[in-house]
Amino acid sequence: MILVTSDEIPGQPVGEALGMVRGSSVRARNLGRDIVATLKNVVGGEVEEYTKLLAEAREQALDRMQAQARSKGADAVVAIRFSSSQIASGAAEILVYGTAVKLSQAPTPG
């Protein structure tokens, strides 16, 4: 499935808009990782524990959005946007949404 942040896919005209699709995920690490992250917060630098947490939530949200798009029979999702907010301390919430579309010409698999 083609996923783009632009409103159109160059060279592949949109045949039909199937509506908005979205996926969200809220994930947390464990207490041990939170302790390490807190200590890293003191000394600075990248907090890999939370980078990983955000990446996990991002991929899961993307997969959920794609699953919804697939269930609508979409070939692609255009105008994808990411949004995040803080629900709980140490947890990452990612919301991803876009418009599921059917292309005029179905994309070749692969």
């Binding site: 990446a55 939530a57 794609q66 699953a67 698999p109």
Partner: protein, 149 residues
């Protein structure tokens, strides 16, 4: 789930691949979802394939600090330090918990307060164990734990 020929995937494995790649038609998808709900081995197979797909999708070139981190983690001082730190923290935490429990039981507190404190702690412990049990049960089916960045 075991392939009849080790070089060729079984029918279920092919179906699982098609499911992960979104290649099943709606009827096939419904059937497969029904089977996944009742066949834990099939669900685990799908989770494994999703994990592989995520790894391929999330591939990123190594950064200079990655190898330095790895070298650091391999040093005896670093690995021993982490182990020692966690052991001390765990022992301290357990000790503090036991001491608090002892104080609640033997300290000068209204019996009713003792009772409700013990009930609250007991309730929290039961809830925590249930959440932990749920997480451990679903962990093998969570492909996102392998995503790094």
């Amino acid at each position: 789930m075991t392939p009849t020929n080790p070089r060729e995937p079984s029918r279920d494995e092919l179906l699982a691949m098609a499911f992960v790649d979104g290649e099943l038609d709606s009827a096939g998808l419904k059937d497969f979802e029904k089977r996944m709900a009742t066949e834990p081995a099939l669900a685990r197979e799908v989770a494994e394939l999703q994990k592989l797909e995520l790894l391929a999708r999330g591939w990123a070139p190594p950064e200079p600090k990655d190898s330095e981190w790895q070298r650091l983690e391999d040093e005896l001082l670093q690995s021993t330090g982490w182990t020692l730190g966690w052991i001390l923290l765990a022992v301290g935490g357990i000790g503090l918990g036991l001491f608090a429990a002892f104080e609640i039981l033997t300290g000068e507190m209204a019996p009713l307060l003792k009772f409700f404190l013990a009930v609250t702690i007991g309730g929290l412990t039961v809830l925590f164990l249930l959440v932990l049990r749920g997480r451990l049960r679903t962990l093998p089916l969570d492909p996102y734990t392998e995503v790094e960045r």
